[in-house]
C-alpha cells in the first residue's frame, strides 16, 4: 500500500480525498442544489422587481417602491443584485455545513468516520468550510444572471476592480462556511430548524441585503451601528462596492477587514466547537 512519505503529503491526499467525496455527492445532488439556490432569489426578484413596479406604474404613476429606489439614486433591482448574491452565499454556507453536520453529529454519527481520516481533526472542519465556499461562489454566480435579467427596470452593474470582487467573493464565501460550521457545531441537532427562525432570518433581514448600509444612516442611525455586528452586512456591502459601485457603500478597506475578521472569529469558534464535539 502506498504510504505517503511525509505528513504533509499524507494530509494533502486525505484533504483531497474529502473534497473528491464532496464533489461526488454534490454532482449527484446537483438538481436539489440548483433548486435551493435559485428558488429564493427568483421569487424575490419576480415579486419585487417585476410585479411591484408594474403594479405601482398602473397605480397612477406614483412609484410604489420609491423609498428603496430613492436610495442613492439606484433602483431596487440594482440594490438587490449584490444583496441577493450575499444571501445566496450565506445560505449555501449554512446548507452545505450546518445542516449536514446536524445529521452527522446526530442520528448517524457519520462524522466519526471522517474524523478517522489520517489528517488533523481541525482539517476535516476546514475542508467542510472550503467545499462550502466553492458552493457559495457557484450559488452567487447562478444568482447573478437572475438578478440582472429579471428586474423590469435596468440594473446598473460595473466592475472597476476585479481583484476586489474576487477577494470579496472568496472571503464572503469562506466566512459563510465558517458561520455554517459555528451554527452546526454549537446547536443541538434537533434545534437546527429553530436556528433558521432566530438566527438565519434576522441576519438576512438586517444584513443590508434589501437596502444599502448608507441609507440607514440617513433615517435610522442607531440601526446603522447595530447591524455592524452582522457579517452578512459586509457580504452585501462588499458585493455592492464591487458590482454596483454607483450605489453608496462602505469603504473598501473596511469591508475587506471586516470580512477577514468575521472569517477568523467564526472560523475559530467553529473549529473549536467541532473539536469539542468530535473528541471526547
Amino acid at each position: 500500500m502506498n504510504r505517503s512519505s511525509t505528513p504533509t503529503r499524507q494530509y494533502a491526499s486525505a484533504f483531497r480525498g474529502l473534497l473528491l467525496r464532496d464533489f461526488r455527492v454534490l454532482r449527484r445532488e446537483l438538481m436539489p442544489f440548483l433548486l435551493r439556490v435559485v428558488m429564493n432569489p427568483l421569487l424575490f426578484l419576480f415579486v419585487f422587481t417585476y410585479i411591484f413596479p408594474r403594479l405601482s406604474a398602473a397605480a397612477a404613476g406614483s412609484s410604489g417602491m420609491s423609498g428603496a429606489m430613492a436610495t442613492g439614486g439606484g433602483n431596487f433591482g440594482t440594490v438587490l443584485l449584490p444583496g441577493l448574491m450575499a444571501v445566496a452565499i450565506m445560505f449555501s454556507g449554512i446548507a452545505a455545513v450546518a445542516l449536514p453536520l446536524a445529521t452527522e453529529f446526530g442520528i448517524t454519527r457519520e462524522i466519526d468516520d471522517r474524523v478517522m481520516c489520517p489528517l488533523p481533526v481541525y482539517a476535516v472542519a476546514v475542508e467542510k468550510v472550503v467545499f462550502s465556499a466553492l458552493q457559495s461562489i457557484l450559488a452567487a454566480l447562478i444568482v447573478f444572471p437572475l438578478a440582472y435579467f429579471i428586474p423590469s427596470t435596468p440594473v446598473h452593474v460595473a466592475v472597476h476592480n476585479w481583484a476586489f470582487l474576487i477577494a470579496v467573493l472568496v472571503l464572503a464565501s469562506l466566512a459563510a462556511g465558517a458561520l455554517g460550521l459555528t451554527i452546526g457545531t454549537s446547536v443541538k441537532p434537533q434545534q437546527i430548524g429553530l436556528i433558521f427562525s432566530i438566527v438565519v432570518v434576522p441576519i438576512t433581514f438586517l444584513g443590508c441585503v434589501y437596502y444599502p448600509w448608507a441609507a440607514l444612516g440617513q433615517h435610522i442611525r442607531w440601526l446603522q451601528y447595530v447591524v455592524l455586528v452582522n457579517p452578512i452586512v459586509y457580504m452585501s456591502e462588499g458585493l455592492r462596492a464591487a458590482l454596483t459601485p454607483g450605489l453608496p457603500h462602505m469603504p473598501e478597506p473596511l469591508i475587506l477587514s471586516a470580512l477577514l475578521l468575521s472569517l477568523l472569529l467564526l472560523g475559530y469558534a467553529g473549529i473549536r466547537g467541532f473539536l469539542r464535539r468530535v473528541i471526547g
Binding site: M1, N2, Y11, G17, R21, T108, D113, V115, P118, I279
Partner: protein, 313 residues
Amino acid sequence: MIVDIDGLTKIYDGKPRVVAVDDLHLSVRRGGIFGLLGPNGAGKTTTISVCTTRARPTRGRVLVAGVDVVASPATARINIGVVPQYNTLDRSLTVFENLYFHCRYFGLRHSEARVRSSELLAQFHLEERSDAYPQQLSGGLAQRLLIARAIAHRPAVLFLDEPSAGLDPQSRIAMWEGVRALHNEGITVVLTTHYMEEADELCEQVAIIDHGKILVNDSPARLKSSLGAQTIYQVQLKRRDDLAPLIARLKSLHGVSDVEPTPEGVRMFAQSADGLLPAIVVAAQEYSLSDISITEPTLETVFIRLTGRDLRE
C-alpha cells in the same frame, strides 16, 4: 507489542465525576485476537476510543504500532482500523464508494482505490450490493461493510467495539468467521464484548475489565482452568437466616473451594465432583431448598468469581 497501554486514566468531569478508566496497563501482542471483556460501563469503549484517537486520556500513554496516539493522532490513524458500535457508513455514498473514498482518504490513487475496493467487495461478499446505499443494507451486511472499510487501508490493528451488538445469531457467526479470516491475514484484532461466548470462541487472549481496571489478562483456556474457573452452584433457599452453619458444612465438602451468601441463598465454587450434588441437597434441606442451578466452567464463571456479579447485571 502492537498495542501498549500504560497507566491510562480517563476521568469525565461532570456531575457526577466518572472515572471511566483507572490507571490501566495492557499490552497486545502482534497478530493475535485480543478480547476486552466486561459489563456495560466497565470502561471498554472508553479504552478503545482513546486507542483509536477518538478521545483524549486524562493521563497515561497509548502506543499503537509504536506511534503515540495522543501526540500524533493523524499518523497513528494509518495503523488503525475501527469498527465502532454504531453504523457510521457514509449515507450519501454507495457501498462501493464507501470503500473507494476511504481508500482515497488514506492516500491511494484512483486506480489503486478501485482495485482495492473491488477486492474488498469480493472478500466480504458484497459485490451484488455494490450500488446500494447504506440505508438499504441489513444489520449484518452493514457490519460487513464497516469491517471491510475499516481494513481497506491495511491497518496493523483492527479495533472492533461490541461487534455483535444488534446482530442476529447467523450474522454474528459470519462476523466471527470474517474476523478469523482477517487474523489469518496477519491483522491484529482487538475487540470489546460483553458476550462470554464471543470472547471464548474468538480470542486468544482475554482481559477482564471492570470499573476501569483490568482484573485478569490471560488466554481463555488458562483463565478457565485457573483458580476462579470452577463449576458454580447457585443454591436458592427459602430460609435464609443463620446461614453460617450451612456455609461451614458446605465448605467442608470434598472439592468445594469457596461458599458465599447471596440474596437468594448461597453460591458455591467447586471442582465438579460426583456425589457433590446429593451432598448439597442433604445439607441444604433444613433451609428449605428451592432450587439449584449449576454453571459449568466458562469465562462467565471466571467473571462472577472475580467480580461477584453476573456480567449482564
